[in-house]
């Protein structure tokens, strides 16, 4: 409607400036509209994501009472603490092991689901995706109960095989095993869904052609399935790496970092240091250590996403 009105106004005036001005008005108006449409988004990201991100850089340079600038004092303090290096190690062990197992289980189960007839796939897929749908804080409580030191249902079952009782959350090795297990349980369905979608997008003709050429199962997998799925495998893995590395809920509820801080991740340790011990600068400092690995993963994801955009 607005377009028409403006042009009518322009008709009364001389021809050439009218054309130029209405064009400029149009452009001006379109970008103005676009600006207002994106303004809430820009404000939200600017005020509640970018600003806090830089603010935490500033916070990390203050002393505990936040009264004095200490430069890199917090960082050098962290480097001298043994717990910090343990957290770095545990975060890497946790993220890498969990992502590998999630990817493997997702890949294997996706093939099994893909194998069975189409009608039943829906039912199975629906069942296998349940762990991903339950809020992780809620399902981790169920795991906590399964791992309970005196009433553990796992230990009860294992006792029939003459195994156990296993101190699921009481010993460093088993506690690390348990948090990874719960994370794999929670995250594998995501991989399953992504890989299943990727499997379905591979044209049947490629497999038929491979069969005619005498390719065996392994060759079909290596030369057809994997190259076709490469992109999704890469993106899913990187995504999951970020989420797993920044995980909080599972470790917080299951072990709160124990025993003896050996299962702490960056997020849970930052919470303990920054909020529970109210040393905000040190907590900010701890969580900032997540940035390098997140940045590397993000760059790779972005490269992949852009590449796909260009192909399309």
């Amino acid at each position: 409607m607005a377009d028409v009105v403006i042009e009518q106004g322009g008709v009364a005036r001389t021809a050439r400036p009218r054309k130029a001005r209405s064009l400029r008005n149009m452009l001006g108006r379109k970008s103005t509209v676009a600006f207002f449409l994106t303004l809430p988004l820009i404000l939200l990201i600017g005020l509640l994501v970018l600003y806090p991100a830089f603010y935490s850089l500033y916070l990390a340079t203050l002393n505990k009472a936040m009264t004095k600038f200490v430069g890199l004092g917090n960082f050098t303090f962290l480097f001298k603490r043994e717990t910090f290096w343990m957290v770095v190690k545990q975060s890497c062990i946790f993220a890498i092991t969990a992502v590998i197992f999630k990817a493997l289980i997702g890949f294997i189960v996706a093939h099994f689901v893909h194998n069975i007839p189409g009608k039943k796939q829906r039912k199975w897929r629906g069942m296998l995706l349940v762990p991903w749908v339950i809020p992780p804080a809620m399902s981790t409580l169920a795991w906590l109960w399964l791992f309970d030191p005196s009433y553990s249902a796992f230990n009860y079952t294992l006792s029939f095989f003459g195994v156990g009782p296993i101190p699921w959350l009481g010993e460093t090795f088993w506690a690390r095993f348990s948090v990874i297990l719960v994370n794999v349980w929670y995250g594998a369905p995501f991989f399953l869904i992504m890989y299943l979608a990727a499997l379905k997008s591979v044209p049947d003709q490629l497999y038929e052609a491979a069969s005619i050429d005498g390719a065996n199962w392994w060759q079909k997998m290596w030369y057809v399935t994997l190259p076709m799925m490469r992109n999704i495998i890469a993106i899913t893995t990187l995504f999951s790496l970020i989420v797993t590395f920044a995980n909080f809920d599972i470790v917080r509820i299951l072990t709160s970092g124990g025993p003896l801080d050996t299962t702490h991740l960056f997020a849970t340790w930052a919470f303990q240091v920054g909020i529970q011990s109210s040393d905000i600068p040190l907590g900010a400092c701890v969580s900032l250590f997540m940035v390098p690995i997140l940045a590397v993963a993000a760059i790779f994801i972005l490269r992949d996403v852009n590449k796909r955009g260009n192909e399309a």
């Binding site: 970008s31 509209v33 676009a34 600006f35 449409l37 994106t38 988004l41 820009i42 990201i45 509640l48 600003y51 806090p52 991100a53 603010y55 935490s56 289980i105 294997i108 093939h111 099994f112 194998n115 069975i116 199975w124 629906g126 069942m127 296998l128 995706l129 762990p131 339950i134 809020p135 992780p136 804080a137 809620m138 409580l141 109960w145 009433y151 249902a153 349980w185 992504m194 065996n216 199962w217 999704i232 909080f248 809920d249 917080r252 509820i253 960056f266 997020a267 930052a270 919470f271 909020i275 905000i280 907590g283 900010a284 969580s287 900032l288 940035v291 997140l294 993963a297 993000a298 996403v305």
Partner: protein, 301 residues
């Protein structure tokens, strides 16, 4: 592994044995699927089993996988407890408001980014995607301090109030929803909105009459995503709220049902199950949209 061996021999044999191989591959697939389904469904099933037990039965340490005296007392107790209903109410109102806010922010933005090429639009779209990759565990400390500072400056109570979560949660939902909506909007043929513009529709009319109806599946997927994310969020409410009447469900269950060292497991499992129910119900009815949203995030754009 077994399917490996069987399929390998497939192409070289005769037709009859091939179909027999396929039948075996199918059987093995089912066998392993059952194993994985047991692994995936054990915790939720155990939640249900425990929620039906009385405290006495739990502490009697009978077979944990079986309910000998099923009772609904845990459910009755929780659903008549004002505290629990308060958690539920807080979670529900926050999630619903967050969904509305998210849609109001991300739909117009996605429309502008998908259709109006303006200065910096490509950068902004990339920026939105990058924001999606910034985890909550990186921002909770500066946000906590920010809220404290604003509270001191303005005198408005922000910490320990549930409504502050309504402002914080969109940082988790908006980037992803905008991102998948850009994908859905961009897939709408240009001829459609060009025709609308030629017919004299304004941008707003194009958005409301053309884009939203056509991209409705994407919209539903984004809504489901926003709801489940805000329902499940645990870190922010744990940091920003402490009073019992301000807590949301996940934090409420983990902090209040555990009294000292006494774990009332029957009630904890019932609470967790009730807390997991809304996302599960949505998932049961709208599974296809749910999965579309999940896969669109990484495959579109």
């Amino acid at each position: 592994m077994s399917t490996l061996v069987i399929d390998k021999a497939g192409p070289t044999r005769k037709l009859g044995s091939m179909s027999r191989d396929r039948a075996w591959a199918l059987r093995w697939s089912y066998f392993f699927l059952v194993l994985f389904a047991i692994f995936f469904l054990t915790p939720p099933l155990y939640m249900i089993i425990t929620s039906l037990k009385s405290s006495a039965e739990i502490s009697a340490a009978t077979n944990p996988w079986w309910v000998f005296h099923p009772t609904l007392s845990n459910y009755v107790e929780l659903l008549t407890s004002n505290q629990f209903l308060r958690f539920f109410w807080n979670s529900a109102i926050i999630s619903i408001v967050v969904v509305i806010v998210t849609m109001l922010i991300s739909i117009p933005a996605a429309f502008a980014l998908a259709r109006m090429k303006f200065w910096g639009s490509a950068t902004l779209a990339t920026g939105v995607f990058l924001t999606y990759l910034i985890p909550d565990s990186l921002l909770f400390i500066p946000l906590f301090k920010m809220l404290a500072v604003i509270q001191d400056l303005t005198g408005i109570t922000l910490l320990n109030r549930w409504y502050v979560l309504v402002f914080i949660y969109p940082t988790l939902t908006v980037p992803f929803c905008t991102w998948i909506m850009i994908g859905y909007f961009a897939s709408i043929p240009k001829e459609l909105d060009e025709a609308a513009i030629i017919d004299g529709a304004s941008w707003l009319q194009t958005l409301l009459r053309i884009f939203i109806p056509v991209a409705l599946p994407g919209l539903i997927a984004a809504t489901i995503f926003a709801f489940t994310v805000s329902w499940a969020q645990f870190l922010y409410p744990l940091v920003f709220t402490t009073s019992v009447d301000q807590l949301v469900l996940p934090v409420g269950i983990t902090t209040t049902l555990i009294k000292g060292d006494v774990f009332n497991w029957g009630q904890i499992m019932t609470g967790a199950l009730l807390g997991a129910a809304p996302p599960l119900i949505i998932y049961a009815f709208l599974m296809d949209y749910y999965i579309a949203g999940l896969t669109a995030g990484a495959t579109k754009g």
